[in-house]
Amino acid sequence: MLKLEKRPQPSKFWTYAAPLLAVVITIVLGMGLFAFLGNDPILSIKTIFWDPVFGEFAYMDRPEVIKKAAPLILIAIGLSFGFRAGIWNIGAEGQYIIGAICGAGVALAFYPTEARWLIFPLMIIAGLLGGLLWALIPAILRVYFKTNEILVSLMLVYVAEVLIKAFSIGLLRNPDGFGMPGSRNLRQYASAANNEVIAGTGMHWGAITAVFAVIVAYILFTRHQFGFNVRLAGQSPRAAGFAGVNANRLVMRCLLLSGALAGVAGMFEVSGPAGQIMGSFPSFYGFTAIIVAFLGRLHPIGILLAGLLMALTYIGGETAELTLNLPSAAILTFQGMLLFSLLAVDVLTNYRFKFAGAEVR
């Protein structure tokens, strides 16, 4: 019988090899799934993973991958701090929505004034504060009432979804929109548009912020006391208390940080790719970012790569939906399988398999 045996030291090799193995396992499982759905498995995988980067129309897809990856990376970086510390903000989707509402709200309040130097920075601040305040609710409840932050942050996602639906037909509805739901399109409002900084690359302000966030997070984790405290609190909460880490302050900081980044991501999305506040704005990014965070092993560089990979499955999935008639739900299932296999192979880092009885001397 196979038995698991704890390694004295985490394996360096598997730390890096495990995510790759997980991707391979998922591709194999995914091929099975696609074949079961009646699609050519090799072609499906090629359409999803290869064509957006190297295919015939890659010049169109590559910028889209970057644009999709930006919010995922931004949110996942924020989440990685809390997840490492054992603080589970599951409601990034809600903070993302509220950030978008606040950012768009500021822009629409100024409309049609043209003053990009003022309005765009204000929108960023508003998005950041919006997400932060939405995360402040579970943070305060956890610190002062010991309320489970998982459930509270999650309930607030549903509330945020209700709010954005209500706003898109109420407060923020486009007065010139002939009664259609949805706000004005911010991409058509020069002072508020989140344009590509380098045209044709997909590098909009959100993508640049995401890269910046990766670098800062990397420095915090490897060189700074805050990153150290986060890791310590996650591995041994009692030891962290003994080392002088204030648990409540850490909960606050981690939740607010992830909320702020999710809020900013929402603001960049609504002023860029999405363009307007609509009932259909919530796009599951806040949840997918959780997969991204784990796929990247909660490491900033890993998250950067994982975000790009996940964005690839979205863009490739859309293509597959169009060309191969692959249902979009298949991609969601595929992403779930990716998370499962990643979590499963993680066991190799800290344990090794042994055949029982093989240890006889």
Binding site: Q9, Q225, R231, Q235, A243, N246, V360, R361
Partner: protein, 503 residues
């Protein structure tokens, strides 16, 4: 008449042979001591007998018939019962439920309660079946384990370090119970490293070292030092303190009180004490009487009113841990894995964990890993920590080595006051001796040292003063010179110092 016979038992784990060709026999009605240091292989051996571990080689027989328990259930039904060192109890369940869980075919709850009451009274170990186990003292919790075993009329009772959680008075009661059981024909396998107890109680002793049987003896006819040498393999030197001079008061507690931190914790009640520079202040007491809570209140993990804790006259009761370290107070909690050290982190990171403030290992929040690595390397060298490198995970170190690292880390910071809780718990004799010597050296350099320990011999060996911690209250201190076990027993029983003195 032999009850249990072991021949050639061998069990290997990766990198270590825990049991190597072990053979001995336990007679009916015999109290048989299994003597050895931590890591000698006692635990593996008794787990084998109890069906938790399957031996790689060797055989056992019970009453002459081959005995190969596949799991604890089979062992129990064959008449083996075991009282664990770390109790296998469920805090949130009642005494009766805990006992039922340890029985193969428990009677109905009502009958069981009646049985518990009658058996516990018969053996002088009173227990109430409906109490919640988490609310009981360590001694009472052990009773639950013992009654659980006795209700099954065991042929062999295994006791793993049973006295480490008992007061001297409770030890006497327990010995009475065990002798009575042996007289009734039950065999007892008694595991300990406390030589005096074994000499007082046991008929035979088998001594283990590094997984092998290194000797057998009749403990009543063998001196403690001879047994100690067999157990350790060489003669140990007792730690010595160079001078007895003490300086001015550094640490003062004034009426320190704190509520219990969790449901099964202990509240601290009006604790006052003063410790001077150069003094080693010993605090004895059975586990669960407020030791962890006292350390937390001193280290800063629990905050109190400011003037309840004073360092060199300054109130520090409201300060967080790092501010206290900066002021000169360092601490080493009992639990190495997960409290004093983070098991999954490297030794460098563990050195940084508490050394940051005093050793100046960071600037503006940015960590200086070079300095932290040097600090870890210094601890490793000075305290003879056996490890491949500073980047090894703490969990890869043996208990003794990690304890040397943890205590060494605090000593290297040259604190004004050092608080250590159970400095040598679960540590082999050689490491224990070196830790004790290091604590005495620190006091010689003029630091105040507070040693909290369940091991009364340890306190008598290194402390200048002794105070007893009992249900969150601290007795007045008495000098350790000329202190007897009887008097300590009275102090631990909760009697005030006057009563103890008049006894």
């Amino acid at each position: 008449m032999t009850l249990l016979n072991l021949s050639g038992l061998t069990k290997a784990y990766p990198g270590v042979v825990a049991n190597d060709d072990i053979s001995f026999a336990v007679g009916k009605g015999e109290i048989h001591a299994l003597l050895g240091e931590n890591g000698a292989g006692k635990s593996t051996l008794v787990k084998t007998i109890y069906g938790l571990v399957k031996p790689d080689a060797g055989a056992m027989s019970l009453n002459g018939a081959p005995f190969t328990p596949q799991n604890p259930r089979e062992a129990r039904s064959a008449g083996i019962a075991m009282v664990f060192q770390h109790f296998s109890l469920f805090d949130a369940l009642s005494v009766a439920e805990n006992i039922a869980l340890g029985m193969e075919n428990p009677p109905s709850p009502r009958d069981l309660s009646a049985q518990i009451t009658s058996v516990s009274n018969d053996y002088g170990l009173p227990l109430s079946p409906d109490s919640i186990v988490g609310d009981l003292s360590a001694g009472e919790r052990q009773r639950v384990e013992i009654i659980r075993c006795l209700l099954q009329n065991p042929k062999l009772l295994i006791m793993d370090e049973p006295t480490s959680v008992l007061t001297p008075g409770e030890v006497e009661t327990l010995f009475g119970t065990l002798r009575k059981l042996a007289d009734e024909g039950t065999s007892i396998l008694y595991i300990s490293h406390k030589l005096d107890e074994i000499r007082a109680l046991c008929h035979h002793a088998t001594i283990l070292r590094l997984g092998k049987v290194v000797g057998t003896c009749n403990p009543r006819e063998t001196t403690s030092s001879a047994m100690a040498e067999m157990m350790v393999g060489f003669a140990l030197s007792t730690p010595k303190k160079a001078s007895d001079s003490t300086g001015e008061t550094v640490l003062e507690l004034r009426g320190l009180s704190a509520p219990a931190p969790h449901r099964f914790g202990t509240a601290l009640r009006d604790i006052s004490m003063t410790v001077s520079a150069g003094q080693v202040y010993g605090i004895g007491g059975v586990a669960g009487n407020g030791q962890d809570e006292l350390v937390a209140a001193l280290s800063g993990e629990t905050k109190t009113k400011g003037d309840m804790v004073c360092l060199s006259g300054q109130p520090i009761g409201t300060l967080p841990p790092n501010a206290r370290r900066a002021a000169g107070l360092c601490a080493a909690p009992e639990e190495r894995n997960g409290h004093a050290a983070a098991p999954d982190m490297s030794l460098t990171e563990n050195a940084l964990m508490t050394g940051n403030t005093r050793m100046d290992l960071s600037k503006n929040g940015f960590l200086n890993w070079h300095k932290a690595r040097d600090f870890a390397a210094q601890i490793i060298e000075k305290f003879d920590v056996r490890t491949p490198s500073t980047e090894t995970a703490a969990r890869a170190l043996s208990g003794g080595n990690l304890q040397k690292f943890v205590v060494g880390r605090e000593i290297m910071q040259n604190p004004k006051v050092l608080i250590v809780n159970q400095p040598t718990w679960g540590v082999d004799a050689a490491a224990a001796a070196s830790i004790r010597q290091a604590l005495l050296d620190l006091a010689d350099q003029g630091s105040a040292v507070v040693v909290i320990s369940q091991d009364l011999d340890e306190i008598l060996e290194i402390a200048d003063s002794f105070a007893a911690l009992n249900e969150g209250r601290l007795s007045a201190p008495v000098p350790t010179q000329g202190l007897t076990m009887e008097k300590i027993g009275l102090m631990l029983g909760g009697a005030t110092e006057q009563e103890a003195a008049h006894a």
